[in-house]
């Protein structure tokens, strides 16, 4: 049987000053690691929330994002009448959209950041029921009116309800604020697509993407098959969620890789702190170790015991790190969406599974920092160690 756990718990408690450096080091590492993962997770969640399973987004074949895509009005007519598109008394639920990027000063710093301006059809709110006007009203077709996403209205100076703003060679009035349920649309400005094309002196009746609401989530393949088989169209169709999930992938991966790299570098420091703590524990307790060996505890029991002790320290660090990072949950931050080069607000998402990952990482540090000292403890020559005072 093993050396009792209480031996390690009390030993750590008795020498907590020596353990504190390792605990703090591991806590800091775990906090940074989880914070980076929470950043990636929040970013991803925001983009993924932008898509609905019942929606399909249509782009020109080969266009990796809306920005590079192009769809003509003739094509729009074909697509909105394709099978699988939901209709109501006002016709098909489809929105042909044009997007541009415009610079506005950030409220916090006064420096300019890019905002994505989305020209939509008046049916855009029907296509995306998650987007709701919460103040003012929707834009009138044909007028230079803007509705502003919740995060955008907060993040930028001069986008309040009723404000007049000048961009793209036109004067616009902010007539409404919408809530897009925490999705990427919350960072956008919406207006009439035809007005947008006019103001930006783009050719009329040219759009960049088209989003349709399907009769059901299962109708995608029916719609997709019909649209891609049509000789008048050269388009690609994605489920909207998947489109946004794909958009989030690059930055999510970058943050995750970067976060892991930083955590590894910090982790090396924390492992050295743990090694130091555990080596000194072994050095100070040579006679105790030798006594247990004399009583008949096997070398393996000593290894396990000191490993457990290191894991206890690591666990304390891991839990502390989680506590430190928890207040970040829900904190809003912003980044550039690299697919569209526009500013995107999103919140840190500290999920239970990320916390578990953080604790797992701390235990990994505990094993790496604890194993060499534990092996040294087991290899201690018993007779010599018993002579120590």
């Amino acid at each position: 049987m093993a050396i009792p756990l209480i031996y390690n718990v009390r030993s750590v408690r008795q020498r907590w000053v020596s353990a504190i450096v390792a605990v703090v080091g591991i806590a800091g590492t775990v906090a940074v690691f989880v914070a980076m993962l929470a950043l990636a997770s929040g970013f991803r969640a925001t983009l993924v929330a932008s898509g609905a399973a019942e929606n399909a987004i249509v782009r020109r074949a080969g266009a990796s994002s809306e920005m590079e895509s192009l769809i003509t009005l003739d094509q729009v007519r074909v697509i909105e009448n394709a099978p699988g598109v939901r209709r109501d008394e006002r016709g098909p639920l489809a929105s042909a959209e044009a997007v541009v990027v415009a610079a506005f000063p950030l409220a916090a710093t006064g420096t300019d950041a890019n905002v994505q301006v989305r020209g939509t059809s008046p049916r855009a709110f029907a296509v995306r029921p998650a987007v709701r006007i919460v103040a003012g009203r929707a834009f009138e077709p044909g007028l230079a009116e803007l509705v502003v996403g919740r995060n955008a209205s907060r993040a930028y100076a001069g986008l309040g309800l009723g404000s007049r703003v000048r961009f793209g060679g036109g004067d616009w009035t902010v007539v409404g604020v919408f809530d897009a349920s925490g999705s990427a649309f919350d960072s956008e400005l919406w207006c009439d697509a035809n007005v947008l094309n006019q103001v930006f002196q783009r050719p009329q009746n040219i759009f960049q993407s088209m989003t349709v609401r399907l009769t059901s989530a299962d109708a995608l393949s029916q719609f997709k098959d019909a649209v891609t088989a049509d000789p008048r169209l050269t388009v690609q169709v994605d489920r909207e969620v998947e489109y946004y999930e794909k958009q989030s992938r690059q930055l999510t991966r970058l943050i995750t890789v970067l976060g892991t790299f930083i955590a590894l570098v910090m982790g090396i420091g924390a492992v050295f702190a743990a090694l130091n703590t555990m080596y000194s524990a072994v050095a100070q307790r040579g006679r105790e170790i030798a006594t247990m060996r004399a009583l008949g505890f096997a070398g393996a029991a000593v290894v396990v015991s000191f490993l457990v002790e290191s894991l206890l320290i690591a666990l304390a660090g891991g839990l502390l790190g989680c506590v430190l990072v928890l207040p970040l949950n829900g904190l809003t931050t912003g980044t550039i969406n690299w697919q569209t080069f526009s500013h995107l607000s999103f919140a840190f998402r500290v999920t239970p599974s990320l916390l578990l990952t953080g604790v797992g990482f701390s235990l990994l540090m505990g094993v790496i920092g604890g194993l060499p000292p534990a092996l040294r403890a087991a290899r201690l020559p018993v007779a010599a160690a018993l002579r120590e005072l």
């Binding site: 105790e288 009583l295 018993v382 007779a383």
Partner: protein, 241 residues
């Protein structure tokens, strides 16, 4: 019967033949034990004396399987220690040896109960059986009421009694005591010696004890001197004293 001449007698528990132990210190070799012989019968209480550095601790460490000899053999109850692997020797120690050290060597973070329970964690006894046995051992050394005390809350004599309880709790074949009273005042030392004597006389324990103290040695059935790497019987000296 205790013998040091290497002649085979009946009824020996511990049989040591031509035991050699050398230590290497830098380029210098120290030849501590030089062909030592010893036979100890079951239930015997033997004291070892000898000047500092004569190799008493070295001998006890070899007998207890904590160290390996340079040459020679140690047989306990038919088991030849020098033939055992390190892992087997560890298991053998747990079953057969009870150690009592000069500095008690209790684990400071465990209570008296926790310390005495340690050897039982290596047996198959369940929790309740362990508790009963620990309580019996602590009662035997007169510390039933100090079970939940930590070593720092005990006097030196009490600590050594806890150590004795720990040494006997798993009922080993023999006890090895290295200067068990070396760090105690006279009264506490007397109590410890009374306890060891009782263990030998009333409970038939085999005890091998190293001591510098003639008063301790005289409690033993037999006093052996370690001299130039071998054991000699103390008869001559006893006669002179």
């Amino acid at each position: 019967m205790v013998r040091v001449d290497g002649e085979d007698g009946a009824e020996t528990l511990i049989r040591v033949r031509n035991l050699d132990k050398r230590y290497q210190r830098g380029s210098e070799e120290i030849h501590v034990l030089q062909g030592l012989n010893l036979d100890v019968g079951r239930g015997e209480f033997v004291a070892f004396m000898g000047p500092s550095g004569s190799g008493k601790t070295t001998l006890l460490n070899l007998l207890g399987g904590l160290d390996v000899p340079s040459a020679g053999s140690i047989t306990v109850d038919g088991d030849e220690l020098t033939r055992m692997s390190a892992a087997k020797l560890t298991r053998w120690r747990a079953r057969h040896v009870g150690f009592i050290f000069q500095m008690y060597n209790l684990l400071p973070v465990l209570t008296a109960f926790g310390n005495v329970e340690l050897p039982l964690l290596l047996t198959r006894l369940d929790r309740a059986q362990r508790r009963r046995q620990v309580e019996t051992a602590l009662a035997l050394v007169g510390l039933a009421d100090r079970m939940d005390h930590f070593p720092r809350q005990l006097s030196g004599g009490q600590e050594q009694r806890v150590a004795i309880a720990r040494a006997i709790v798993a009922d080993p074949s023999f006890l090895l005591c290295d200067e068990p009273t070396g760090d105690l005042d006279r009264a506490s030392a007397g109590e410890i010696l009374d306890l060891l004597t009782a263990l030998a006389r009333e409970y038939g324990k085999t005890i091998l004890m190293v001591t510098h103290d003639p008063r301790a040695a005289e409690r033993a059935d037999c006093v052996l001197h370690l001299d130039k790497g071998v054991l000699v019987e103390a008869a001559g000296e006893a006669a002179r004293a």
